[in-house]
Amino acid sequence: MKENPYEPWLATVQDVREEVGGQRPIKTFKLKFNDNKIQDNFSYIPGQCAMVSLLGMGECFFAISSSPTKKGYIEVSVMKLGKVTTALHELETGDTVGVRGPYGNNFDVNGWKGKNLIFIGGGIGQAPLRSLIQYVVDKRKDYGKLDIIYGARTSKDISYKEEFADLEKRKDVNVHLSIDVKEDGWKKFVGFVPDNLLKVKPSPKNSIAITCGPPIMIKFVIQNLEKLGFTEDQIFTTLEMRMKCGIGKCGRCNIGNLYVCKDGPVFSYKQLKNIYGER
């Protein structure tokens, strides 16, 4: 950890991959710290986040979307929405960004060993799940059955297309993709993610469900998981808030007495039920 937590380390863009085009494009940036020592010592666990900045434009808090099992780089996936993300989308290979972190808590990758994992993602919400998916696939024998449910508005809006294609080829991972509206040539599920979840119908036995996506999706996913028999301590999600410091000081990302940047972003449904506060 850096002595001055506000001062980012410099990192160089190694690769920019366009995940989704159109009105709300998503790009994945592969970043390598300029100082090799920092790159080697930057250790994180899936679920954790980093502050990425472009000097002169500002900082944003992103889930690290790559897995710590992939050495020598980190990745963040960014939807172009505001001032900073728009500037980040202009970046090219070789450009410099600032990175500080890792921040926040993480998925319980050790506690979940031996369990079946069900990933339920929508849109850009897949970014933190992707880190965990890469991690458990790299350590495949440590975990039980893996089901990945993911949906987007249209087939063009699906992030990580190549990675999903690779995962679909594996016999030890079940991928269930969906799009919201019917399209010619789409043979998989058409409809919303919560409905696809009911169709896949994962068993709650020895299972953990991890969901991330738009708030409305999360709401109905949780309802449907409960219908399927999942208990509140088997359901996990990651939250987001507007953030500035990332270290629990600037004040704005609280839900009740918890700060999403520091005490989150990963929460069990059990925790969320027991804290009140705007979110």
Binding site: P5, S53, L54, M57, G58, R242, G251, N257, E278, R279
Partner: protein, 340 residues
């Protein structure tokens, strides 16, 4: 703790001694407003004050502060800034000194904030007890006193011709040692005078905020319509937050030309709707009632849950300066009486 006295006639000598090695900040009056400002000579001090309009937290958490400088753009570089110099805050009130101790909880911990912590370490607090508290002072509601000594390095209390001097910390001892000639040991009669002065000041505090079991009580009324009623007259101006000695929320912005820039932290305030708005346009605290409630809960529920202390020191600034007379003593006392 050393107990001494300092003749009022010698106060300027003490200040001159302090000025030799430190920057000295104290209450300065201009245009009817008292603020903590840097002084170059003792006569600039204005000691007949209730309290400063802006709390001295501004000297620990600057209203705008450069975190580091940089060369902007995708080929950028970072240049760290020097941290703060040694300083003395003279004349800080016990309530404001307590606010520093409250803020320590935020700025220390998992991630130490070097800007705040360096300033804290390099700052000597010489407090001045209140002899005539104001109408809206209520430090006694938190079991503190207008002559509380535990939050400062040295506390001076007016006991007539002399100041009664309590030396609390090692930093304080260094000061009294360096200016040794000016101080005399306090007699029992001096100590009694201090106690009398303190009691007189406590007796002048007429208002009380009822905070008994407030954490549990607030837990039960989060969704109550009470908060809509409280927020009804709020203008959302944020005066209460900027002038609150324990409000610490900040924004971070990059200010930059094409060739040079700086990452700046500035005071922010939770009354501002932009404070929480997401890039998507979604705002978890869209209405003023959400924001007013969050401010009260932050001080009287979230802060005690996280750090075991209410984040209010009873200075009364937010009551004195609210343009629509929202009164935090009434709000919290009444919240405690709301039936869940």
């Amino acid at each position: 703790m050393d107990k001494m006295i300092l003749s009022k006639n010698d106060l300027s000598k003490l200040i001159e001694e302090l000025l030799k090695k430190n920057k000295v900040y104290g209450p300065v009056k201009s245009d009817d407003t008292v603020l903590f400002e840097e002084i170059k000579k003792p006569t600039e001090l204005y000691l007949d004050y209730l309290n400063s309009e802006v709390p001295p937290k501004a000297l620990m958490l600057h209203q705008t502060e450069t975190l580091f400088k940089f060369i902007p753009g995708p080929k950028g570089k970072i240049e760290p800034v020097d941290m703060d110099e040694k300083k003395v805050i003279f004349g800080i009130r016990p309530c404001d000194a307590k606010s520093f101790a409250i803020l320590d909880h935020v700025f220390e911990g998992d991630f130490d904030d070097p800007y705040f912590i360096t300033k804290r370490k390099n700052t000597i607090l010489i407090g001045l007890s209140c002899s005539t508290p104001g109408t809206n002072c209520f430090c006694t509601s938190f079991d503190d006193s207008p002559a509380a000594s535990k939050y400062v390095d040295i506390l001076l209390t007016d006991i007539g011709n002399n100041y009664y001097v309590e030396v609390i910390s090692d930093l304080g001892k260094q000061v009294t040692k360096a200016a040794g000639k000016l101080f005399k040991s306090a007699t029992e009669s001096d100590t009694k005078k201090k106690k009398d002065a303190e009691k007189k000041a406590i007796d002048m505090i007429s208002r009380t905020q009822k905070t008994d079991k407030i954490v549990e009580k607030l837990d039960k009324i989060f969704e109550n319509r009470f908060w809509k009623d409280v927020a009804f007259k709020c203008l959302g101006c944020g005066t209460c937050t900027y002038l609150c000695p324990t409000c610490h929320c900040f924004d971070i912005q990059d200010e930059s030309t094409l060739t040079k820039g700086a990452r700046i932290r500035v005071w922010d305030n939770c009354m501002n709707p932009e404070y929480t708005i997401h890039a998507s346009g979604y705002n978890p605290r869209p209405a003023r009632a959400n924001r007013v409630r969050n401010r009260i809960y932050h001080k009287y529920n979230y802060y005690p849950k996280n750090f075991d202390v209410i984040a209010c020191v009873g200075c009364g600034r937010c009551i004195d300066l609210c343009p629509v007379n929202i009164d935090i003593i009434d709000v919290v006392t009444k919240a405690g009486e709301v039936k869940p």
